[in-house]
Symmetry: D3
Subunit: 248 residues, 6 copies
């Protein structure tokens, strides 16, 4: 069986990305098929260390695009832009002819398979309306019971205990007051908390409640697209503009 290769673009500065990669590997391991392998690339100087605004997405988008084009040329079979906000993903679907996923859509797809309405818990308040934009863009807003936040910026996500407590609190509000039937972790940097939250919610409510992790979902969806030979439609995504910016 031909071995297939996935490029994971971690769309932040390399230094910042390093801290997350062991966690990503842990999330990916149980989902990765034997005939797939994963490699990582981060961005260079001149980009932001983490993304919590549309502006941060904008700053990093050019380099994401370049990394994607390089990955396609190097023969990778698919690309995962490892960020829940999916920076540059729509442009990448124009710019390469291999499947591309971000973190948001795959998590939503998985949540839709196990529940009708779900809530998303993201990192900080400024990301909430950005995810509302994505939900409308993907036309899945009716499935979203609420978008909440853990009040913990990306650069403090390593405080796993604080994150767990906050996720449990916010998920409980979503379930008890807003009709959530499942919870999506709304940042790909929320690592080592999935199992805790899943057990805590199922225990608290005495029944199984799905917790959807975006990294595992993204790898699963990407393998699925690659195996089914599905790529971005050229009726939805035109050919990319030829351009050679001077400053790159």
């Amino acid at each position: 069986m031909k071995q297939k290769r996935i490029m994971v673009i971690v769309p932040i500065t390399e230094q910042s990305a390093q801290a997350f990669i062991p966690g990503f590997e842990q999330e990916i391991a149980p989902v990765l098929s034997a005939d797939f392998s994963v490699e990582y690339v981060a961005l260079e100087a001149g980009t932001t260390p983490f993304i919590q605004t549309r502006t941060a997405e904008l700053w990093n988008s050019q380099q994401i695009l370049l990394k994607a084009v390089q990955a396609e040329k190097a023969g990778y079979d698919g690309i995962f832009v490892n960020c829940f906000g999916e920076p540059a993903v729509e442009s990448l679907k124009e710019s390469v002819s291999i499947p591309v996923v971000g973190g948001f859509a795959p998590a939503v797809m998985n949540a839709m398979m196990v529940a009708h309405r779900f809530s998303i818990i993201t990192v900080v308040e400024s990301v909430v309306p950005m995810l509302g934009d994505l939900a409308r863009q993907l036309d899945v807003a009716n499935h979203v019971a609420s978008i909440r936040h853990a009040n913990l910026p990306v650069n403090q996500l390593h405080d796993t205990e604080k994150l767990k407590q906050s996720l449990l609190e916010q998920s409980s509000i979503a379930i008890e007051q807003q009709g959530a039937q499942a919870i999506i972790l709304g940042c790909t940097g929320m690592l080592e908390v999935h199992d805790y939250l899943s057990h805590a919610l199922s225990s608290k409510y005495q029944r199984y409640i799905p917790v959807v992790g975006p990294v595992g979902s993204a790898i699963g969806v990407l393998q699925n697209l690659i195996n089914n030979q599905l790529k971005p439609s050229r009726l939805a995504y035109g050919e990319p503009t030829e351009v050679m910016p001077l400053y790159l």
Copy 2:
């Protein structure tokens, strides 16, 4: 790595099912991971040979449910009800605690990853409003450019040439007049036509246009759910009713 097992319930009479299984295997092979295996089960006497109405779904639903419960008891890790109309799937999500998929939702999920609007080409006219029901039920109606049919009943799908020609005609109308950016094959029995249609459309319109097959999509989505340990939410699907019908 633990080997995981998928039960494919072919929700029609056994005799009728047999003719389709070689084709299913062909669709599934490129999608199936090394750590997954697939087995098939069809229904017994007293069910309908194929499904083109809500009533046919109803006739076969009890046996589908029983087969699913047996599969869970036998230790299968996931169930694929191999029919685009997804008979009994919502009930199965109550009745077992392993992932369950039909043909419709996985195909839609895959189509949404590569296009915003897509058309579904099913077998005959009576199925068209049934798929409209599913689209509203899954809250994805805005993504559906149109639901069309090949005017070829399930028991004539073996006439592959006729099917190919009809699919090309109907897809062309969907693309040219109704804004479809991708095509979903709207019956799991449309076998050995996927590659033809994909090449024919890309050649006709001089650009890549995705053709989504429901069988491969379903296996891919199911593997993804199993690997991510995602099962039906008990807030969306209650526990099944205890019942022992006399006639079963």
Copy 3:
């Protein structure tokens, strides 16, 4: 004037159905026109005593269908499947050529004539997402302020005092916090409580607030369809599958 006959299918075991029939008669009396009569039929052994899950709907659906086909052959002019969850109703619309109603759609139609947004109070938690499915299916979800439950299973509905108190509590939350302008009783087995709730709400809020009962609404809508000679469209509901299941 030709006398017209309505068949009320009580889609549960006969024993269980008997307890409800006097209450049904009381609900129907003020709505029944002089030129209409009503008869009742329940299901046989092998079906569930009451319906609170999709699986219970599935178990009882075959017998509902057979009773409907028999009713049409016996010359009835219309069929009311007396359950708010409307089990098998969509299949019946294929299988017979007389008007068919369940409990959900007629109550919603009546509520829409007197308010824009309304809440539904059903029996137990597991029914809540099932009614959400129906609301999307009928494409009336925007009219639904909320779906709540009285936390009282069908087999305890005879505790009328407990039911009244719970309905008042749940309706008050719907009105005060969720924008409900009217209340629908979300189970056809909620008998002898309509007048109480109507008076209690109007008295509590010092203004008229409609309470819509599904049984009276269903009979009213069915008479209306029969009188207007309206039957299920054969463009929305195909012809039923010919099938003779062995076990029936």
Copy 4:
């Protein structure tokens, strides 16, 4: 059994109304229950002879309101504003405490019981966007396949042959090209054509296709509301303003 009385307000000048009343009576007869009676009232000088614009609705609305208030005082049990465009109906729901219906909503309710998508054929082009307004107002726009017109103004509707031919043409386009599963006659003045169109469509397409008449539907819905004791919610419709305009 107490006899119940319906007031039909024909919201145009009396002279113009007279020509339609025999036709209304024919439509109403098969729907009217033995315990209901119907009376008619038209408007006085100073109003428009027929309604094909929002402005014509506005000119006649004050008199419609006065007739409704008088009808309530005179003890009528319900009011039908006999116009598909439903002039003043929302105001009447504030101003009287008995059920009020126009022509649009009841026809839509009946169509929704027998089909998911339907087209409306009205008189002239200027009415088309007005009915689009009503569809959004009632939040049923997703059910409307299209709104078309017969290109025949109200004051030429007596040319029954021309009307029949135009209705058949427009309905055929709606069915063949726009996904209509049923047809609503979009003017209460389209009299003596319902049976023709119903037979013509069923014959042409070799299957039953519902044709919904607004007058019969309105009487049916109104009887249903009266029998179920359902009136406009005071949470959706406030109390009317006290006012005594000088010129009335």
Copy 5:
């Protein structure tokens, strides 16, 4: 540069209107371009002193229409019907061939330019469902986080302190509990409170939150339409009915 003239129809009795005009002038001054001027006209006897119901809108609509027709004949370039509920505005768009705006749509347009979801705070409870109607009519309901009221009727709006306090309370609930990102003042008679509320909210929440006033928004949108030579489409609004009511 040609001077352009706007007619502001204050759609209530003249006596009642006088008290508001100084406040209107204050709202309009900072928005009015040098090449525009504004004049005011109110209604005559026989109309209601203020509008808080659909019925009050209906009573005043004929005179609003007459004033609009007169304004067009007198050469005005645009009309602002100075009421948030937009009485008769849709009819005016048929009846005159110059731009017409009410208070609701312009405020919504401005709010949509600075936020995705916003709440509207109106005067009293009876107006809340009327504004829900307008939101559906304009198809912007998804943008509306909530419609709340200050519990202060129009004839008590001169109690500015009470109004300020109530607006702050209601806005805070909208922002904290209902996801409002901006606030619309839901009555054109809420004068001299805009700056207070804007400062109070920005101070309370330590960030800028837009408060949209309907009078300034309406004048701004109307100037924009006039300058761009945009008038009501004759495909959306037919020609007005010729009518000469006796009592006018």
Copy 6:
């Protein structure tokens, strides 16, 4: 009266921008108030000469952002990103505290004031799905009858005769077959054609049909926002990320 200054960012290379500026000035002149002035800035080397893909938007976005930040520092009162696709506009709403508009939303706002449904005619096919994205993002997709294209790339828009002919053809299809009640020019570079198209359509269909130009609409909306002191909500748009990319 304080003079207010608008910065028009032409988000393409300076060389390419120059050809369009005389046309922009012509569009803006009739809309610009006496107390407003307009200045232009284009982008530097390293950006694309015109924008017809998401990738072109991405390439130019960083410079658009920098120009906007400079404009705010230089004391401008508002910013118009002069492109129908609105590149970087959502990021700019985070990054500056003055009003920002692109070309799409203002044109849609103006169209909504004069019609309910409208079509957009853009330059080439690849832009069509990009505008569909914007329509969903702004939640106005129900207002869009269709998005069509003139099959004329931006760098051929100077062929005014060809453009006129194509716009008339595409508008006619939109009006006759797709229910458009108004037409939006879907590229800010469609200059010197507005009056032609407006006259041609009104003449062809013998009634007034609005043609909405994005440049004039944008200036009108921006003046309105500035005059009403409305800026992006900090609950919808967080504060921008501090970043100093090396390569800028």
